[in-house]
Amino acid sequence: MFVITCPHCREKREEEEFSYGGEAFIARPLSPETLDDAAWGDYLFMRKNTKGWNWEMWGHATGCRKWFVVKRHTATHALEGAWTLADGRKIYDAEGAGA
């Protein structure tokens, strides 16, 4: 069971305060109508499901109700950090994790 430091409350909190939000940074297509069914289906359903370091969203359900991102290892449960969406995005891009 994890301890996550909410980047907004800036405190260590127990996992039970949070809800898991799935893979981070899945951007909604800007013009869905221009996508074919396969591409739309990919956005809707296909997931990286990474084994290893995983960028994922968590929401601070009982606290500030903010969504933020966490970098967590899905095989060891090691947790590298938690960031606001904006800050996390910078690191995510720097890592090329989106590629």
Partner: protein
Amino acid sequence: MQKDYSVWSLFKQGLRHNEGWDPAWKSPEPKPSYNVIIVGAGGHGLATAYYLAKEHNVRGIAVIEKGYLGGGNTARNTTIVRSNYLWDESAMLYEHSLKLWEGLTEDLNYNVMFSQRGVFNLGHTLQDMRDIERRVNANNLNGIDAMVLDGAEVKRRIPLIDASKSTRFPILGASFQPRAGVARHDAVAWGFARAASKYGVDIIENCEVSSMDIAGGRIKGLQTSRGYIGADQVGCVAAGHSSVLAKMAGIRLPLESHPLQAFVSESLKPCLDTVVMSNAVHGYLSQSDKGELVIGAGIDHFNSYAQRGSPHVIEHTAAAIIELFPMFSRVRMNRQWGGIVDTAPDACPIISKTTVKGLYFNCGWGTGGFKATPGSGNVFAHTIANDEPHPLNRAFDLNRFSTGHLIDEHGAAGVAH
């Protein structure tokens, strides 16, 4: 040729201090290449190999496994077998599987201890009861045994259950499938392994796939921890690790791998003669032949490959069991564990060809794979042998995620299998 198992062989071997038994299956070195390689020696993978050899006369089959055979979800589930699903597509697939279960011990000459003690799916709200009615009527029209029972009848058949109205989730009734039940999970893997081995299938343990050799849109072979192995066809049946394999082939799957936990009590004298499942309170349990209460917990919501979940999930499940059976609060949990389940958006499996010729995937069974073991292997074998889906798994291909033809079984699936 391997000796059959029977009372007489037990007697004969007993007299010889049990020194004459053959290996249950052979463990050969991998050959340079095979016609078909099945990746993943869990129940589904071994069943696939067995039926490929038995029903489709395919030879040159290997099943490769990164750990030991039957060590994944086959060995970690709560062994419930049933077919009372809502939609035609899944109901037919699971019923096909249930029929195979009914003859499996004799077919494999290995007692998988399939125990048809019936499964109750409890209803706690008016909507639960509507859904139960809908599902049971659908089951009946599909020729699947199922019935709706009221609260009093549930209490009559499960004496220890708390049927009082004052509970947070009063029991309004249940659906009941008499032919459903439980089986001995390890025996299923070992039985299929032994039977497949009899047909000359090579079972290669401690052999992990590191990459796929794909040329001209066709699978050529696999790079493994035990060297390169060539193959004309490759069927991946790797449950929680399916996404990892798919990535090697440049394929994306609509899967998320989650921990699913379970636990058993200490061994008790018989106190529960059937299987009880409740989605509303998130608990399901049965009693093993050894006397342990076998209890399935909910899935952890985060992705994981660690075969480890969070304790509060187990705690909530224990509370759910006590809500149904208050006296069990004095019973003790002996052991808990976790598996990795690959869940699909519509809680239905994927048994499908892929964009890579000769590469097939059988995954997405989520929390409910065990019950499908023989049926899954059976139709997947057909799919591989004919490079064409079996009528029963046509609906379970990957296209449904672009056409939108999902088969939403969340109601029937819930957490509970």
